[in-house]
């Protein structure tokens, strides 16, 4: 059962809406408050479940990706910094902030969902309340099993890197590849066998159980938080346009 008596499907709706908000948002102001709220809450709760180091690694990968993307594709506007070999224009800052805020919003809200519910309840809740196909619901729930494994893989890879004379952690995008390759390789093989394991145990024939459970106070609080953030985002955007 989910903590605080709310349905995992409520958390899923929350997370999905936040992700949608991230893609609807076209300005820094629109995304700022939901991104900060979800980023802080999600990373705070998620670090206990997944491990702070892995989350920091994800953040750094995002920072580099966002920065390279911004420099290559959005280097327009007034010049803010002239480094000689490259000029950093205002467009870079805006594009960098947009991608980073979206990242914090999507990942943060997902981490909130994963931290406050458990796999079996989430699958059942998604299937029965939202009628989501089993395969989709299962894929989301498998993340509960996968994250601790990824954290362990990351720890073992760090040990091997240290022994091989490499930094356990790196900010250099070229070297990030050497960190990600083993992580993805091990993860891919595991995911393949997990897929086989679930299919030979009847995932695709899963029968759905309908739920008649009403919304609890916890569910209402989630929807209230959701509405408040959506309203704040739109109102901020509107206020800035008007004034």
């Amino acid at each position: 059962m989910a903590r605080a008596g709310f349905k995992p499907s409520s958390l899923f709706i929350y997370s999905l809406t936040m992700a949608s908000l991230a893609f609807i948002g076209r300005s820094v102001e629109f995304l700022l408050i939901p991104a900060v709220v979800n980023g802080v809450l999600g990373f705070g709760l998620g670090s206990r479940k997944i491990g702070l180091k892995l989350l920091v690694a994800l953040m750094i990968i995002n920072v580099w990706g966002a920065l390279i993307n911004a420099v290559y594709f959005s280097n327009v506007g007034t010049t803010l910094l002239d480094l000689g070999f490259i000029k950093i224009n205002s467009g870079v800052v805006k594009a960098f902030l947009m991608v980073s805020l979206r990242f914090f919003l999507v990942v943060g809200s997902t981490l909130i969902m994963l931290s406050l519910s458990n796999a079996r309840d989430l699958i059942k809740s998604l299937e029965s309340d939202l009628r989501i196909p089993s395969s989709v619901a299962f894929s989301l729930a498998y993340a509960f099993r996968l994250f601790p494994l990824m954290a362990r893989d990351f720890k073992e890879i760090s040990i091997a890197r240290e022994e091989r004379g490499l930094k356990t952690f790196t900010l250099n995008p070229k070297h990030l590849k050497t960190l990600l390759t083993p992580l993805l390789s091990v993860g891919y093989e595991r995911a393949l066998w997990a897929g086989i394991s679930s299919e030979v145990r009847g995932l695709s024939s899963r029968r759905k159980v309908r739920s008649n459970r009403n919304l609890s106070v916890g569910d209402l609080l989630i929807f209230a938080a959701l509405s408040a953030q959506v309203l704040t985002a739109f109102l901020t955007e509107l206020t800035l346009r008007l004034f």
Partner: protein, 492 residues
Amino acid sequence: MVLVVLQANVSEAGYVANKAVLHNVEVNVSDGEVVAIAGPSGSGKTTFLLTALGVLNNLLSGWVNGRVRIDDIDPLDPLGFQKIFKVSGVVLQDPEKQLIMPTPIDEVMFILENLGVDVEVASRKSMEYLNMFGLSNKAYEHVENLSGGEKRRLSLAASLVHEPNMVFLDEPTASVDPWGVKEVKNFIRNVKERGKGVLIIEHKVKYFIELIDKLYVINEGSIIKVLSRDDLNDQAVLKEVRELGVDVTPIHEVDRRDVSNARYVGGDVVLEVDGLTCWYDGSSPIFKDVSFEVRSGEVVALVGSNGSGKTTLLKALSGFHRGCSGVIKTKDGVSQSGKLGRSVFYVHQTPDYMFVESSVEKELLQTSRFGGVDLNTLKSMFPWFNELRDLPPYKLSLGQRRWLSTLIAWGFKPRVLLLDEPTAGLDLYLMRQFKELVGLLKRSGTSFLIATHDPRVLVEFADRALVLKGGRLYEDDVFKVALLLESVAGVY
């Protein structure tokens, strides 16, 4: 009346078009019968299992020409494939990859819920099975908190809870200690007594030999021998099978003569451990006052059950387990904050963790640059270098990946290589290939401390055996320890 629960007649099957991996494989299993398929790595054992379950053509985009029936269900047909979970239970080679839910109760209930069993009934039955497999007190813990043996027991419970007529086991001994092997044996005996069919894919057949009614030997995708129960009692027949790379004979029957004068007495002391005690945060010590030494060129086996602290000891020696007290000394000096510099090098049992580059050649180049061993020396020590130099290391066979990861470690010129379960999942042929590598590196003066519960490591290439039991370490005769491990596993 005896009913055939698995009928498989596969004329050809493969992963990519026009490239058959299996040729004319016919396997039948009746109820109450235990059938094994054995053969060297890459012979097609697992491909057959995936074919028989319908996974190859329905999930992996492979193809199958032939006919398969499990209890009148055709798993090759997409609709039949969706029904096979009702009549079959599957235990995959690695519980880490098989277990998909975060807690044991979720894992066991998964198939019952897929069958549409009422949640309360499913919950009650799952607890009953967890209790049967000694896991009821861990029903709500995260799977990651379970030991290797407990994970294996959980995979067995999850495969049987819906009472299938046919149970498939893919190399069930690959990731367990001898105590775990015994549990797998008891499981198979129990399934057989219930009148169900059992198909075991395994190259260490000796563990199950008294339970097997029929043994198929497969090589290069074809069945080359079918042995009956009577054949399995014939030593001459078993010798033939052993020569095909199948481990059918207990150690005491074949290896004693190889052992008597093979032990090497090491040179100078290169690693000295005195009064080492290690613990996890807030827990009582995993082991206490551990003292031993390793001499140059020695292969020392570190033996103990899953969870006895073998890996922790290796990590403590390499400075990656912080919670320790005691003294660790090498020829290069005393441990400073748990670090021994490059005197020791720890190699995890998953070789993939070690790789950082996109090709075999780049891996060796990086090793040469950072480790200092000449690149040509490293190339010459990887026998498949010319044919595999551009291949990503992850695409190599398990034996080759283990070879490469050990070679990389050696390339950093450690005095002692700390290997964690290096022979897990290796068949007799690959194990001997690995032995060849150890021999090669040993001749250069490198010492080895190998955490293992594989009796073959002890008998075939360990010079000494250290046993970690109940938090204490003691030294014992190599052959005696190997026999003990086999007897724990139920091999006599």
